[in-house]
Structure formats: C-alpha cells, structure tokens
Symmetry: C2
C-alpha cells in the first residue's frame, strides 16, 4: 500500500531528523494526522520561527534570539569554556553553575571532512582573549576532539593564558572491569592524591 | 541556561509526538536549527499539507487524499478485514498481498474511556455488507480488542456472514519458556494438526 502523497512527504521530512528511521517517521506522521488543525499549524509555525528568530551569538557562537546571548551579556569573561557545538553548552551549564562563558567552535578539526582551523571559529576566539585568565577545552574525548584541544593549547599557551582540558577517566558508576583500555590508561595517568 | 523562546516552543511541539521526551525533542529542535532555510520551510509545509490533504476514506475510514481510497476503489470487497486504526492496515498489507479490503473502526470498545459501539464506525460497517462473504477481525489481542471482536461476531453472525479472528499463539522466533500464560493457553487451545 502506498501512503497518500502528503503523508509520504511528511515521513521523508521526519526521516531527516537525527536517529529517525522510516518506522518512527511514519509513527510521527500519523500523530500529526491525529493532531487538531490548530496544533499542527502551530507546530509548523514553530519550525519556521526557529529559523527566523534563532541566530548565533556574535561573541560566543551559541544559539540565541538576541545579538549577544544571555550568557555573554551577563557574565564575567575571565574564564572561557571552549566547546564544539551549542548543544554541549546545555550539558555543561547543567553542572557548572554560571561560572564562566563559552566559545562555540562549530565543530572539531577533521582533515578527512575538510575541517581545518579556518573552518572553526578560532579567529573569533583569539579576538576575545583580553583579560582572559583561563581557557577550558571541553571538546569530546575522541580523536578529533583531542586533536583540536592540542591545537588550541599550542596556540594559546605562548600568549600566557592558562589552558586546561576536562579530565578523562573512568565514568562514575561504571565498572573498571568493563572500562576500555584507553580510558583506563588515562585514568591511571591522571590519578590524583586522596 | 534557558533556550531561546523559539527553540523552547519547538521543543514543546516535538514533545507532543509519540515517544518523544525532552532530550529527544531538544535534539530534533537543534537539527531544525541546522537545516537549510528551504528544508525547514518544506518541513513546515509538509505538516500543514498533511492536515489539508489527508482525509478519511468515506467507505473504509483509511487515510487517503481522495474521496474513496485506492484500496476500496480497486479491489473486490467480498472479504473485509476490520482493524482498529489506519496504521494497522500498513502492517497487514505488508503480508496479505492485496486480497481483501479493510474497515477502520477508529478504536476499540473501551467503556472506561467512554468508547461504546456508537463511537466506533460500526454502523458504516453494517452498511457495506452486501455481497460480503467473510469479515476478518484484526483488532489487537488485548482486552479491548477481544471485547470488540466478540461484540462484532455476535452482531454479524446472525446475518449469515462468516466471521473470523486472526490466530493467537506463540510468536515465530520466540521461546516457549518465556511465553506468557495467556498466550501459551491460547496456543494450546488453537493447536492445529500437522
């Protein structure tokens, strides 16, 4: 059986969302069919408005509906936490408690995908280092994230800025038995006195 | 950190989809931010168009963009398969191979939620029984689906129509050790000679 064209088009659109396959997209499309006309209209408007209203903060690159985001405009900027994507800020904010500002790189160094230093917001970072005491590099603990961290450290240290990297080790609640070798090696290397 | 208003509104809309929580909705909303303007606009239009173009087939109640759906308008209607929801048709069509037509009840009998026979499309079923030899009842094998099947059987049998129910038993690939008692009881009761 073919879906009616309109449903098939909506299924294809839902498939463009991360982690959504045919079956899930179909479930979502049928849910839209069952929505009230008003709910569906507001759903569609919410999508359009996000594209119209949301832009990138001109200072840090985070998502915002203002010229400068709430974080940059209200906080002391002596410590900058560097992240790859805006969504990383959400996770860090949940635990960090308004102590520093952010800088979004817009990705990590990845030569295979053509992402060099010029494709990341590194120039913008260099332009906001006045009075900055520490740069915390919070890119993912994978190959690209590590390479980016090393690259930034080499760039910033000669300027007399303290550069730190989030710690890598065994996760809380995990079992050493199942920790991978790289993680366990890092955890041993970075051991701290208690 | 607060999301920009437009993102929060879109997150709330995504949360209305089945099985989507805050975290997934957030992921979807960020994906929309990263879409091209055109893709986002077409996504929004697809939602509006589904509501505008998709309606219910006047004969069987399936979703369609015509007055009478493709299945009803092209197939012999001597066998009608009764289902609770349009999405059930998709699953059955995948295995049944264009052998019968459908009738969507729009739910199952559920007195606790105020769903009685008048809330289901039972009158419409009775109105299309001319020349029908068999009615297959393919509601879910749960309490409401069973009650609906029994109700329909009592209604249709006195009219001289053969009423059948999809078989219930152990699923293919499952293990008897883990089958629940009701399923195993049904499987034994409905045993067939080999």
């Amino acid at each position: 059986m073919r879906h009616p064209d309109a449903i098939q088009r909506l299924i294809n659109r839902f498939c463009a969302l991360p982690g959504v396959g045919q079956k899930t997209a179909q479930r979502y499309a049928y849910a839209v069919v069952n929505m009230s006309d008003e709910d569906a209209k507001e759903f569609a408007e919410a999508i359009v408005q996000v594209k119209e209203e949301v832009k990138f903060c001109s200072v840090c690159g985070n998502l915002t509906d203002k010229e400068v985001c709430d974080i940059c405009s209200t906080r002391d900027n002596s410590v900058i936490c560097v992240v790859a994507q805006p969504k990383d800020i959400l996770s860090i904010e949940r635990v960090a408690g308004r102590t520093f500002v952010y800088h979004v790189l817009g990705g990590t160094l990845n030569p295979l995908e053509g992402k060099g230093p010029n494709e990341l917001r590194i120039k913008q970072l260099l332009g906001r280092l006045d009075g900055v005491k520490e740069v915390i590099i919070a890119t993912n603990p994978d190959v690209e994230g590590e390479a980016t961290a090393v690259y930034l450290a080499r760039l910033l240290k000669p300027m007399g800025i303290k550069v730190t990297r989030i710690a890598q080790g065994v996760s809380m609640g995990s079992e050493i038995e199942y920790a991978d070798e790289v993680t366990l090696t890092r955890a041993l290397e970075s051991r701290t006195e208690i």
